[in-house]
Each structure stands twice: as structure tokens, then as C-alpha cells.
Amino acid sequence: MLWAASLALFAPLLGAILNGVFGHPFREKAHWPAVIAVGISMLASWWILGRVGFEPVVLDLYTWIPVANFVVPFGFYIDSLTAVMMGVVTTVSFLVHVYSIGYMHGDPGYRRYFAYLNLFVFSMLLLVLANNYALLFVGWEAVGLCSYLLIGFWYEKKSASDAGKKAFIVNRIGDAGFLLGIFTLFATFGSVRYDTVFQMVASNPHLYQGALVAATLFLFLGAVGKSAQFPLYVWLPDAMEGPTPVSALIHAATMVTAGVYMVARSHLLYSEVPQVGQLVASVGAFTALFAATMAMVNDDIKRVLAYSTISQLGYMFVAVGLGAYTAGIFHLYTHAFFKGLLFLAAGSVMHATHGELNMQKMGGFFRKMPHTAWTFLIGALALSGLPPLAGFFSKDEIIKHAYVTGHTFIWAVAVLTALLTAFYMFRLIFLVFFGKPRDAEIYAHLHESPPVMTVPLWILAAASVGAGWVGIGEEHSVFHRFLETALGEFHLVEWTVHRPAGVGLIALSVGVALLGILLAYSLYLLRKPDPALLARRAGFLYTLLKRKYYVDEIYNLFVVGTLRVTAKVLFWGVDRALVDGTVNGTGWTLAATGSVFRRWSSGFLRSYLLWILIGANFLVWFLLRSGGGH
């Protein structure tokens, strides 16, 4: 087991170093070491997936930071949750690597791209494999670094390097909270290792109530930053500046799910403090709805998919928030496949239109790009949650769980969001693939992507269909029983209400999805109520959505703006004027007094005589006053 894990972890690192530092010989063939490395890592992960037993395997390679009683090991914690995450990460990474060979062909930074991608896989695996929160944090930030490097990959484009910087800084804000969470854990439990912390919580849960609330909240702040939940989601839409395979891998399948994994990993902590769980769920629900509304009006394919990812992440947080950790991970697992597929398909569209992403300029691509179109359709159907496909099983389970545990408000929001999801996905499909081509010039140059890109698309399409079947039958499904060992029983958290979930519930969610598709169909294909007309009548509401609720502007104005102003004021005011002022001031005053005396010896002879006379006076006066006595 140790060998498999280390192999899975260090192979991509070796690939990254090979490409990055000694990459010259590989120049054109840079993808080979990268793909092989991730391939090895994938096989190792599958092997682990098969072999992981009931008891988590804890292995320590060496002690990383030994200070007094704060001993942080560099080690692995492998259980079924880790295995699932590794499986997802490595499989999607491998497909994205293969896809990138075609997509990034001819790009000057080809070698650098594969080095960063490998480094990302290494960091993500480190995050998943770590056996303590400190090492988790190392992976956490390393993943942030890789996303910074990959978003700003085409750094000559100012918007790209700005987006990279923005991503890193917003992530860092979340990480700051995460750090405080780690400190709280260490302060209360005297260790950051999973096994010790979980064991202490399990043995006497009610002892650490206060500290647990603080720790879980701080950790959640980190998750909000990393998984782009409200209010720290602003970096994800901008992250679309990076190459599309990157968006598919990092900003859909793997990195953004780190937050969900962390909450699932610390399920023992979260289930002790249900009120925090409810907060997590409500933030998730709100973000889901909030993002879905913005996705409805956006014209950029990748931005729509980005908002859709934020929305789906919201779903996952609803699940883990309400205690349904397995459901959350299940949705993460299925989402990775169909969202990865959608992004790669979008990439293939972009590849064909030479970087054009605006839906309004497209139309009728179905005939010219059958493979991309079909796979995109499958992905959209999966995402909207129609029965046979993966999305239905995972999303429906979350909705059912919300209903069953009596959170009707969250349930309603979830259902509404499902409607919107179906609507904006099929709006995208009808605008891009169906109807009349709106831009002849683009339509003329259209061509289907090479097999090296379409084959991964079909594999992911198959996965989007098949992945869900593993979870049929909720509690007793293969997937749930597999994760039982890691995430504990399904009913850990007894909610007050326990309403029976009838068949009606499933019918409702499917109906809602179909309604969404219908709406999109009539609006964008048949142009019954012409969307432009609707937009004008909606007026303020439409522009609000279009301008993404002006959130970016608000942040720039308040957070960035005020900080910059205070910095300037501080610099000129305090640094220059006050501190330097006093220093130079003392210098100046000394010089000034000097000049006064200098003028005093004016060279005017007779004034000297006068001063002598005055001096004599004072002298005698002084003698008089002091001499007095004797």
C-alpha cells in the first residue's frame, strides 16, 4: 500500500521536474513524460481503490516539523474516501492530459504547460493523501499555486495574469481562515493528525463543543475560498482565462472539490456541531441559486460552465452540510465526469472557432461537429439530472436528503436551482449547436477536433452515463457501502423531522428538469417570446444579472479600493510626513536655530559693544541675587 501511494504521488512530481528542469530534449515530445507519469499514478490509484480495506491505513514517511509537542509527520492516510478521490483525480487528469496533447499543440509554452499540469496532479494527490491537517494545508496551497500558474499561463495577456493573481489572493484569504482552523484544532487536541483528533472526538464528543464550532467554522472559511462558494467565488469565472483543459481539470473536477473533500474528511467534527452543518448547507444552497441565476444570462460558454460548477459545488456543500457526506462525495464523483466532459467539449468548440466563445456568434454547429455536439448533449443531460444519466442519481439524492431531513427551504432552493440548471444548459446547447449559424465566417471554418481530443470526450461521455449506476439504491448501493467505512453510517445526524420520501419527489425533480429544457427550447429555438424582448422588459433585473450583481465592482471599490487608498495615505501621510518628517524636522530645526545665532554675530561692531554692556548688567544682577548673603 505504501509503495502504491508513494508511486501515485511522486510519479507526477518526477514528471513535472523532468519537463520543467531538464525539459530541453523533450521540447516537442514534452507530453510523453507527463502523460506516462499521470498514467502510472492512475493505475496505482485504481490498484489502491481495489485494495483499500475497512481500517484506514496510516503510514508516516518522516517527521516534517518537530517543535516541542507540535510534531507534524509527512505521511499518508488511506481509506475508501481517499481511494475514491484519488481515482477521480487521476482518471480525469489522465484524460485531460491526453486531450491537452491536441489542444495545446504548437503552443510555445508546451513544455511549461505539462510541467505545471503534472505539478498540479502531485499537489492534489498530496492534499488527498495527507494524514494530518498541516500537510493537507501544504497540498491545499500547492494546488492554489498550480492554479495561479495555469490560469496565468498565457501571461502576456494582462487579463490572464490578473485572473491568476486574483485566484491566488482570494484563495489565500480562505487559506488564512484554514490556518486559524488548524491552530484551533492543535490548541484543543494537542495534535493535527487525523487519527488522534478523530479518536479524541469520538471518545468524548461533548467535551470540545466550543472549540469544535470555532475549528469547523474556520476550516469552512478555507473551503469557501478554495471551492469558490459565496462570497469568495469571484475568482472562478475569471479563472476561465486559462487554457480550457486546465479549466476542465482544476476548475471543474478536482481542485474546487478540495473544500468538499475536507468537510467530508472531517465529518466527525462537523457532525458534532449540527448548527455549523446547517450554515454550510445554507451557504451552499444560496451559492447554488445565486450562481445559477448568473449563468442564465451569460453569453460566454466557459463562464456559463464556471457558474454552473459553482452552483453544483453549492449542491455538494448542501449534502455534506446536512450530514449526507456520502451523497456529497457521490455528486462530486459524478460531477467530475460530466463537468469535465462539458469543459473539454467547450474547449473543442473553442479550438474549432479559434478562441471565439460568445454564444451569440454561434449556431447550428451540430452538423459540422457531431462528436463534440453529441458528447456535449450527453454532458448537459447528465448535469440537468435526467434519469438514466449520472447527474440524476447524485443530485436527486441530495434533494431527497434535504427533504427527508426536514430542511424544506433548502429543498425548495435546490429544486429551483435544478430548474435553472436545466434551463441555462439547454439555452447554451440550442444557441450553439442548433438553429441557424449567426456568424457565417466562423461557421465556414468549423471543423471537428482531432481524435486525440474526441476520444477522451467519448470516454467521459460513457462515464457520465455509467458513473451514476454505481449509486442506485441510495444507502445500500455499491458506492455507499464502499464509503461506509470512511464516512461512517448514513444516519449519523438524527434530524428532528423524518418525512417519508415518496416516488413523487423523484417525479418532481425529473419534471423540473424537463420544464427547464422546454423553456429553453421555446425561448431560444422557436423564439416564441423573443429573449431580446424579454430582456428589455425585464430591464433592471436583466442588467443586474448580466453585470453579475456588480459583485466584482463592489469588491474592487470597497476591499481593493479602500486598501489601496489607506496604503497611499499611510505611505505619504505616516511614512513620508510623520516619521520622516520628524526625523528631517529635527535636522531642520537644528539648522534653523544655528542660522539665528549666525545672524546674531552681524559683524556690526558697535552692537557687540552693546551686548557687552548688557552682559555686564546681567552679570552684576546675577551677583546681586545670588551673592546676597555674606
Binding site: S602, G603, F604, L605, R606, L609, L610
Partner: protein, 98 residues
């Protein structure tokens, strides 16, 4: 013949001499006043001798010698001043503001 009267007189003379030195621009009159002040001092010393201090008179002799030397140098300066700037006014010798 009590000494305070003498002292009073010497003080008066000294005051007048001092005022004169500062008031007058002509170097000659400054020197004259200077001499007057020296004499006032002599007078005070004599008053001291009236009060029983023999050395008083002795110091007067010393003061006298010093005054004489001082006049010699004073006239010397006056002569060279007049030769250089052919006017005894002191203000010609002020250093202008740098």
C-alpha cells in the same frame, strides 16, 4: 570723607563713559570715553583705599599703566584706520552680511 560718595561718583562716570563708547561713531571719542571709564575704575579703587585697603592705591597705579598702554594701541589703531579709510568712523569697518 566716606568712600560711598566716591563710589557714587565713579559709578556715574563709568556709566557715562560706557554710554559714550557705544553712542559715539567716531573712534576717537570712543577712545576718550574708554579713558574716562578707566579713570572711573581708578576712582573706585581709591574709594576702596579710603576704606582701609592700601592695595587700592597700588592697583590704581597698575590700572594707570594699563590705561596708558591701551591708549598707545588705541591711537595706533586710530591712525591706521584713518590712513586706510581716511575717516575715523567705526561703522566703515562692519563686515557686510555674507
Amino acid at each position: 570723607m566716606n568712600p560711598t560718595l566716591y563710589l557714587l561718583l565713579s559709578l556715574l562716570l563709568f556709566g557715562l563713559g560706557a554710554a559714550g563708547v557705544v553712542l559715539r561713531r567716531n573712534t576717537l571719542f570712543m577712545l576718550l570715553n574708554l579713558e574716562l571709564m578707566m579713570n572711573a575704575v581708578g576712582l573706585a579703587l581709591v574709594a576702596a583705599s579710603l576704606a582701609g585697603l592700601l592695595e587700592g592705591q597700588l592697583i590704581v597705579l597698575m590700572v594707570l599703566a594699563v590705561a596708558a598702554a591701551e591708549v598707545a594701541i588705541g591711537i595706533g589703531i586710530l591712525v591706521s584706520m584713518v590712513r586706510l579709510k581716511d575717516s575715523p568712523l567705526v561703522d566703515l569697518w562692519n563686515r557686510e552680511e555674507p
